[in-house]
Amino acid sequence: MIAPHTPEKTFLVRIQRQDGESQPAYWQEFEVPVKPAQNIISVLQYIAANPVTTSGEQVEPVVWDSGCLEEVCGACTMVVDGQVRQSCSCLANEQLAKTGKDHIELTPMTKFPVVRDLFVDRQRMFDNLKKIKGWVPIDGTHDLGPGPTETPEQQEERYAYSRCMTCGCCLEACPQFTKDNEFIGAQAIAQALYFNQHETGKKLKSERLDELSGPGGVADCGNAQNCVKVCPKEIPLTQAIAKVGRQLTVHAVKSFFSSK
């Protein structure tokens, strides 16, 4: 971590803080020395070691969520100058150049309950994976030979979906997904497609589609297409929603006839 230096050049960081979901939010401002190749995480690490605001007040260090710092675990997602993204891959100098401002503004994601400061609780996303039965129903771990073969094209399509790191950018940007509604959102819909595309995963396709045809399912998508624009892994989310939509139509027709 970083020790105090005599700064040559500095910039300001404004952070929206909150002691918990039911507590009022408030702002604090910190002055941070410019360093080469400095990302938002190193900025927050500096503030943790030097928790003094620009008005000279000694405060409790800012709380944030992080893990790999390589944009692959999804933990450090937050809103930087109004844009949801992973803070580890956000370089401070690039961000300042992009906005043309002398400060960077950090706020927590707004679609999930705040645990503390920039740390939010995204359990709903993991619960949704349970709802859509996001797994391949194998018989067990005994040696039963290889899995089904697939073409490189099929693998490439599935690989794109398998890189979803449950970060929540797509849900933060979605106008339909709110803190208090039931909409399941792009992340879980794309994962349902991922498992429906696997030869063995397909065995639960009908149950997944039952889940997605109910309240909070695919029909609640307003087609704003924000999700695909903010996905850090460029997952074709709107394409996934469209494909699941078509699977649902077929499923509805089949269910209609089988129930007669």
């Binding site: 971590m1 970083i2 409790e60 790999c68 710092l69 349970k130 391949v136 073969t149 073409t151």
Partner: protein, 634 residues
């Protein structure tokens, strides 16, 4: 929580912890799974290159499970035990098949078979991969299977809970844990008849490493202080190719070299031309020159030292500590297979590695040492698994399947799996063997844990956890509550982040690529100073909710204790072996040091006691580790 017995606790939700949870739940024993992060965000997600296993293509070219074992043993410079490595190499193809059935999107050939890539320490393609994010894909597949058991009520997740201490009964049997909810800060005792530590590596001791911010080694260090020994803590892997950064060093996978990437420096010192303007004959591909057979794919410790030395001699790019890792010449299709890591380089440096050679330098990457564990070697006389019609193995060819002893620490009932287990990699881990060892521990040794828990839960080893007096758990609960209260109430002058930074700088300078007695003695003094300063902590967050400041400060104390063991074992091992290179003792010395450094925590002095334990070689004899080096000047 309803107490059904027996129960098993798994600490850590990376590959090893999830594989263990799945296997133990499948054996019919309920699992409580603890993790500091939602398990899907565990550090296994960072593994890039792939997972090794003998396969049909390699087999028809003369490769075998036996050779995979041999490569792992010589890669580890024979510090690993042979029976567990035999078992892992022979079990590996089953693991690939299972992961394949779980839906891991392994790369495919045009026929739809699983594709393979070349990796370090082998001349055969035996590495299975999913793009350049194999760890992520494997972790997710096991996360999905765990979620399935969770939905069925067989696994209970405790995410954002921190392991604090193992609970042991008066006979020293592990009977549960003390853990803390990192949000409400509540500390609680949990009962179990077996506990699996799958808590990963300790890169944070070095400040900056390729590891995630959660990999501080504190959980293993707490078990060590509670009486579980460490094995070979001096064995730390420094990965040859990482991108140095302000907050961490980001891994640039070995797969870049496996797919044809080349490491080079300009032949002229301080050559300031653009790398692409430097003609071929003015480039020094130093790994290829020194190791014509393995080239850029020598084991990591060797590549790391060569890069380190070439920079020490002043040949680093721009005179700095960096060399080129060049993939610009590779065809587009190959670059696509590496997309996940090339994107990382581009995002964090601003340069496109498809167009310009990457600038890289070694960084601390993997903890080969860890909690000391034991195993029951395979014995044909007690083997009840091999069908009557099949030939049995010879003695010591593998481990006794399901034997409760497998990967148990010296505390009965406490197991260590994955990176926190010292067993498989010896003095250097080969690329793409980490994912293998983690999944192997969970799947193969998970049954050993379930068997132990069933026996212990029915009273075979003292009182079952469910029937032990609450006073026992309360005693450990109070110990941890007191420790926390003391840290929270600290009113000293020493900021934990500053102590941590100094620890990282010191350990990186004294105990990484090249170790030497004088420098390490200096580090010993420094660690003593840091321990003293740690007693005078300043805590800036006094909140009682999601207090990261206090959690970090507590873990820092454990990091200092682990660092002490690591440094003392480095001092005591007066030889060079694998990743442990002593410039004052540059040769491997088998007579004295073909031994495990088994380190016990001395509760009186608070310092490590080192004992040397002989390593049997029942399967293959030791041999020099040269990798066909042509230049013996170094």
């Amino acid at each position: 929580m309803p107490e059904t017995h027996p129960r098993v606790i798994v600490v850590g939700g990376g590959l090893a912890g999830l594989a263990a949870s799945v296997r133990i739940a499948e054996a019919g024993t309920p699992v409580d799974l603890f993790s500091m992060v939602p398990v899907k965000r565990s550090h296994s997600v960072c593994a890039q290159g792939g997972i090794n296993a003998c396969n049909d293509v390699a087999r028809q070219q003369g490769y075998s499970e036996w050779q995979h074992m041999d490569e792992t043993l010589i890669g580890g410079d024979f510090l690993n035990h042979q029976p567990p490595v035999y078992e892992m190499a022979h079990f590996a193809p089953r693991i690939i098949n299972l992961l394949d059935r779980m839906g891991v999107p392994f790369n495919r050939t045009s026929e739809g078979m699983r594709d393979l890539r070349l990796f370090g320490g082998s001349l055969f393609k035996r590495t299975h991969f999913a793009g350049a994010s194999t760890g992520q894909q494997l972790l997710y597949a096991l996360d999905e299977q765990t979620r399935r058991y969770e939905a069925e009520g067989k696994v209970t997740k405790h995410e954002q809970w921190e392991f604090l201490w193992p609970v042991t009964d008066d006979q020293g049997h592990c009977k549960g844990i003390i853990a803390q909810d990192m949000r409400s800060m509540e500390i609680k005792a949990f009962r179990a008849d077996a506990v699996v530590m799958a808590s990963g590596g300790n890169g944070l001791i070095y400040g900056k490493s390729t590891m995630s911010v959660i990999c501080n080694g504190a959980a293993a260090a707490r078990c060590y202080q509670a009486g579980a020994d460490l094995g070979n803590p001096e064995m730390i892997q420094v990965h040859p190719t990482a991108i140095p950064g302000e907050d961490k060093c980001r891994l640039m996978s070995e797969s870049a070299r496996g797919e044809g990437g080349r490491v080079w420096v300009p032949r002229k010192k301080q050559d300031d031309r653009h790398p692409l303007d430097i003609p071929e004959e003015e480039r020094n591909y130093f790994l290829e020159e020194k190791y014509p057979g393995y080239g850029n794919l020598v084991p990591r410790d060797i590549a790391t030292r060569e890069i380190f030395w070439v920079c020490q001699e002043g040949y680093g790019v721009g005179g700095e500590n960096q060399v080129y890792l060049d993939i610009t010449h590779l065809p587009q299709a190959t670059k696509n297979k590496l997309a996940a890591i090339l994107e990382i380089y581009e995002k964090f440096t601003g340069d496109d590695p498809r167009e310009v050679p990457m600038k890289i330098f070694p960084a601390v990457h993997y903890t080969m040492g860890g909690l000391y564990t034991t195993y029951a070697p395979y014995d044909p006389d007690t083997d009840t698994i091999t069908p009557a019609s099949s030939p049995k193995r010879e003695p010591n060819q593998g481990m006794a399947f399901g034997d409760p002893q497998n990967m148990m620490t010296n505390l009965p009932g406490l197991y260590a799996f994955g990176e926190s287990n010292y067993a498989y990699h010896g003095a250097t881990r080969l690329g793409a063997n980490a994912l293998l060892s983690c999944v192997f521990d969970g799947l193969f040794n998970g049954l050993s844990v379930a068997n132990h828990a069933k026996a212990a839960g029915s009273g075979e080893n003292g009182t079952p956890a469910a029937e032990l007096p609450q006073a026992l758990y309360d005693k450990f609960l109070k110990q941890e509550q007191d420790k926390l209260n003391k840290i929270t109430a600290s009113t000293g002058t020493q900021d934990p982040y500053t102590i941590h930074r100094e620890l990282g700088v010191e350990m990186t300078a004294a105990a990484t690529v090249v170790k030497e007695e004088g420098r390490m003695l200096q580090a010993r003094e420094k660690l003593a100073e840091l321990r003293e300063r740690y007693a005078d902590l300043k805590i800036s967050d006094t909140g009682h909710y999601t207090n990261q400041n206090v959690s970090f400060a507590r873990a820092l104390g454990d990091m200092l204790i682990y660092a002490d063991a690591l440094l003392e074992a480095s001092l005591a091992r007066k030889e060079s072996r694998g990743s442990h290179y002593r410039s004052d003792y540059p040769e491997r010395m088998d007579d004295e040091f073909h031994n495990t450094s088994r380190v016990s925590f001395n509760t009186g002095s608070g310092r490590p006691d080192i004992n040397w334990e002989a390593i049997p070689s029942p399967l293959i004899p030791l041999r020099p580790r040269t990798y066909g080096k042509t230049d013996t000047a170094k």
